[in-house]
């Protein structure tokens, strides 16, 4: 029995397979999330629910069938997995802990110092992009995806780097008074440019990039090159769509807040 999804080179079947390592990790994350959010007020129940949705997304990304498909069969599944982990699950998890963060996240001591460094916008952006680029290099993918520890390392790095990347734009602790909304929007936009570049490379290549997917037992009518192009399209379109959607929402929320403040200042009636 495998404990984590990795490339096995065997023919794909739709027969369910257990991956206990995924379950253990999800249990750990769920327990940690519960401890961090327990006691949150009813007013924040939507945010707490968003966090649980993030946990479900993470589980879907890591466990059978998507985890297994992504590990050793389809580059397009690998792209979906990356988006689920880095662009959906990670920010949702942070939205969930946001209300209780001032109460539960350490603000002093070694932990706070480490958190401050890891979630500093520059450090977080560099960490996230270095991980994104490195984990898409052909040699790295072909070397790591064939072992359980290697595949686990890639998945864990995606989650960890994404949490660091999204943290300064979602969680109010550590306090960063100069990192206001417009800077955050620019940070989100620039922080995902490398991911877009990787997607473009996948889209325009005329030879398969990854040995693990090129030599995988075929399971669809698609060629390995077509599958890779689809992976690039998913990363490009869905990734850009998610990011632009978040940026747009953040911008209009900031603009609405400015307008409310202006109206209050000028003693104008609310719209």
């Amino acid at each position: 029995m495998q404990w984590w999804c990795s490339a096995q080179g065997t023919r794909w079947t739709w027969e369910w397979r257990p991956y206990p390592g995924v379950w253990l990790l999800m249990l750990l994350i769920a327990v940690t999330y519960y401890r961090l959010t327990h006691g949150a007020s009813a007013a924040h129940r939507h945010q707490t629910a968003a966090g649980w949705c993030g946990i479900v997304c993470l589980w879907l990304a890591l466990d059978w069938p998507l985890g297994a498909l992504a590990a050793g069969y389809l580059a397009s599944a690998h792209a979906v997995q990356f988006l689920l982990i880095a662009m959906i699950a990670a920010p949702l998890l942070l939205v969930g802990i946001r209300p209780s963060a001032p109460r539960t996240i350490p603000t002093a001591g070694m932990g706070a110092a480490l958190l401050g460094v890891a979630t500093h916008p520059v450090m977080a952006a560099v960490f996230f992009n270095v991980v994104t680029i490195t984990t898409h290099v052909t040699g790295v993918v072909d070397t790591l995806m064939v072992s359980q520890w290697g595949a686990f390392a890639i998945d864990a790095l995606w989650l960890l780097s994404a949490l660091c990347f999204w943290w300064p734009t979602i969680v109010p602790v550590p306090v960063r008074p100069r990192f206001h909304t417009l800077w955050q929007i620019l940070y989100l936009f620039l922080g995902t440019l490398f991911h877009t570049a990787i997607a473009m490379v996948m889209l325009i290549t005329d030879l398969p990039l990854y040995r693990v997917y090129e030599l995988a037992p075929p399971m669809t009518g698609l060629s390995s090159l077509e599958d890779l192009h689809i992976a690039g399209g998913i990363m490009e379109l869905a990734g850009a769509g998610i990011m632009l959607g978040i940026i747009t929402w953040r911008f209009f929320r900031w603009a609405n807040r400015l307008e409310r403040d202006d109206r209050r200042t000028l003693s104008l009636p609310a719209r």
Binding site: L207, P208, R211, E214, L215, P217, P218, S223, L225
Partner: protein
């Protein structure tokens, strides 16, 4: 995964001293960008695995997908022929091999592609009727040639080429079974000898690199 067995060396007959000097900057940039193209002193190496000694093009007659006799040696003499054993129910090796070969062929000029033959011999004649083989090969390339014979004929042919005979697993309750078979593709060149084979794991980039070399390199007879 590249095999660590010594590579076959192909002399680069197009390069002259004057040409090398003129195009040095361009070549330098290309060398920086090239991945997987080993160039040592103007000599390019094939990505296939060199055989310890050349294997002559075998002489045998089997049935093609029209049910007609196919004399392999006579019909492919003097042509670059990619030859391998497999079966249509193969879950991994055979479809990947054929797909990658086809991808390599697609990148050749039409005239070069017409000079190459791909011949597939089934190791599962019980299930692989000529019609089944034809339908399966057509999914890759209608020009691929499929041959079938009796189990004894195919096993003998494999043995003559230094391969083990195919091994059929016991049938499951549903009647399906797998056939273990040699996975290398022999490249019989214009001089009717094979000096290099391509094991499973040969990628499209390897075929794109090697097919023009196999087609155009000078051969010593």
């Amino acid at each position: 995964m590249r095999m660590s067995i010594p590579r076959l060396v192909v002399p680069d007959s197009n390069a002259t001293p004057a040409t090398r000097v003129r195009y040095l900057p361009v070549v330098g940039l290309l060398l920086l960008a090239a991945c997987g193209t080993a160039t040592e002193g103007g000599v390019r190496t094939l990505h296939g695995v060199a055989l310890p000694h050349p294997i002559p093009r075998p002489s045998f007659v089997l049935r093609d997908t029209r049910g007609e006799r196919y004399d392999f040696r006579a019909r492919t003499a003097g042509q670059l022929t990619l030859f391998f054993f497999g079966y249509t129910h193969c879950p991994d090796v055979c479809p990947v091999h054929l797909a990658n070969i086809e991808a390599g062929l697609e990148r050749l000029p039409y005239t070069d592609r017409q000079r190459i033959r791909v011949v597939f011999v089934t190791t599962d004649p019980a299930r692989d009727t000529p019609t089944v083989i034809r339908q399966w090969l057509d999914a890759f390339d209608p020009a691929f040639i499929g041959l079938s014979g009796t189990e004894a004929e195919v096993d003998t042919l494999q043995t003559r080429l230094g391969l083990g005979a195919a091994i059929r697993s016991p049938a499951t309750a549903g009647g399906s079974y797998t056939v273990g078979h040699a996975t290398q593709v022999f490249a019989f060149e214009a001089d009717d000898s094979a000096r290099v084979v391509y094991p499973f794991g040969t990628r499209q980039a390897d075929w794109v690199h090697d097919l023009p070399l196999l087609l155009h390199r000078p051969l010593s007879r």
